[in-house]
Symmetry: C2
Amino acid sequence: MEGEPTLRLRVFDLNCWAIRYLSKRRQERVRLIGETLRREGFDLVLLQEVWSEQDYSDLRVKLAGCYPFSHYFRSGVIGSGLCVFSRFPILDTLLYQYSLNGYPYMLQHGDWFCGKSVGVSVGVTAPLLSLSLQLHAEYCREKDAYLPHRLVQAWELAQFIRHTSKAADVVLLGGDLNMHPEDAGVRLLRGWTGLRDAFAEATRFEGCKNGCTLVPDNCFAEKSELLPFPLGIRIDYILYKAISSFTVKCEELKTTTGPAPGMDIPFSDHEAVMATLHIQRQGQPVGATLGTADLALADVVTEARTEVGVGLRAARRQRYSSGRMAVLALLLLLLQAAAALGTLAGLGAEQPFPKLSFCLLAFLALGVLVLAAGLHLFHTMEVKILHGTEEQMWMALRALQERP
Amino acid sequence: MEGEPTLRLRVFDLNCWAIRYLSKRRQERVRLIGETLRREGFDLVLLQEVWSEQDYSDLRVKLAGCYPFSHYFRSGVIGSGLCVFSRFPILDTLLYQYSLNGYPYMLQHGDWFCGKSVGVSVGVTAPLLSLSLQLHAEYCREKDAYLPHRLVQAWELAQFIRHTSKAADVVLLGGDLNMHPEDAGVRLLRGWTGLRDAFAEATRFEGCKNGCTLVPDNCFAEKSELLPFPLGIRIDYILYKAISSFTVKCEELKTTTGPAPGMDIPFSDHEAVMATLHIQRQGQPVGATLGTADLALADVVTEARTEVGVGLRAARRQRYSSGRMAVLALLLLLLQAAAALGTLAGLGAEQPFPKLSFCLLAFLALGVLVLAAGLHLFHTMEVKILHGTEEQMWMALRALQERP
């Protein structure tokens, strides 16, 4: 066991904030990221928010020498923004899109259009299952309307990892979870999968205090969002676990701290996270020593289930009110049709309304009908998914309680 | 090896055609299905098209004695229609919704609203990974507009099975693939996963000729669809494979043949498929003898990739034409706004149009704009997914060719 060779794996993770037309100094930053990646020679690079396929292509051309294998994950209207560059061959890829991802009518938040997903690439190192991902953003911590959606995503992600990782030796997840370390979603994900947090496990750490990746010192960061957190927040993570007869240790974790060396700008509005992992084969299989079945886990599943239940009730209310609105609009339209027919048949003495207002009203009712019916359909789907997740969590709780 | 006990597993699969308000004699048939399942005492029951949750609840109550474990998979607007009843505990469930599933504006086909999915339940028998599923329907075999979507679904299903099944001992899939046995999607699914067809492998077979499950003799079947196939078609399958140190043999396969015993109606417009499987532990792991990497597999992946490419080009054309339509509608609206502003500012001598037609035209343009923009977004997503699938298939082909 002692004589077994150790694989040293250097991993880079960054939310690149590369939105075409919207992100400041995007092209310059993407160039800078490419140059740094080429110079540093990591083994595995997990990037998020590379929304433009052109940026990915540019990076791929630039990095072809040191990262000959790469993949860009496509989904949603805009794309998933996820890509992976690897020094080792990528054998297979898989994209899992979360069932819920915000609301299409919240145009200013835009998460729905991105098709937030988790991209899985299976590499030959180990075999290593590496996941790059991003969850729904948190826009307002005090009144977080997206919390149930984010919890559904965390749950689906955890379930997905449990089901896909069984034949892997090592699972490695890098991404922007959009959650603080102590949030229910992070606890749920870690507890339900047994993933370990590189920041907590690292022998050496270097970088922003508390491992924060969204810091006020970053010139691109939204200062107002960080007012309650003067030190910043940690929302980008590298998580890992060894599955079969392997052990993984995090030797070193680093974050960038503002401007790139020799430059006046940082890579992104997030700081990058870099981990050095040591992977070693063990004499015998480790077995299920991760202990996912404890009371703390039952507690966090219960907590998440409660939040999903809150979301479910809200979604049911919205489904009801949009359905009612659609019915009212339909009734108005029918009433107008009856009035119009009546006038045509010569039943009414005079046309009661001027033609123009009559038409305007009909179009308005039609518009309301289409919109309300669309909303009703959307919230019906939302209800189904929240209800399904709540049931899955209940099944998980029952399984936890039945264990000796 | 010879002394190991054999597990005999009896599986029932049926597309129930239980659409509320639309399916003929639905309640009667669901009652009949419930009674038969209770009497026959299968080990595992995989049902599709149970669209009404009430029907599921009724079945669950009726079957609680002999099938104490069950799950209903929720997705889409209407639901996935999938459910599973089991004599053995269900440890975990997972729902994977295909990325593409028809078009929301094809209301008469309705597949989009169902959220076609594959429901996975992990049971303790073996451990057994059982999948219940339905793919997009084929509405016109000669001019099958949904073929690329169905191929994407078959590919995603195959990838999903490959990634989730690695820790299982036996994978069992039952469902309505909506494809003939020789179709590219079935060959792709079987080739890429190594799943075996219970009909082809069964020692004994009893039922409709060629194992057909959509037969003209069924009084609910759409006769016109079956005109080119006087014997019927086989679109419901039970597929299986053993993964680790197990072997699976299909001892017997049966289909129902029209009316249920002692009744004047069949269970559904599809015939049910029933398999008796023998699962036995082997002395040593079987290893990768399934030989998925052969020339035939490369051929079928190439064929599927070509079809997906055809779909991709069609989706790009539709994206372009809907985008152009949206731009034209926007231009018309802007023109009208300019004219209206001109009239208001007193620039034009007289108002050139009557108010009513002017308003009607504006509303029409607005309606076209909203619809065309929605279509443009939808086809943009479709393009992304088809493109992503095409790339995954290309990666698979490269991997196949690089194998010795």
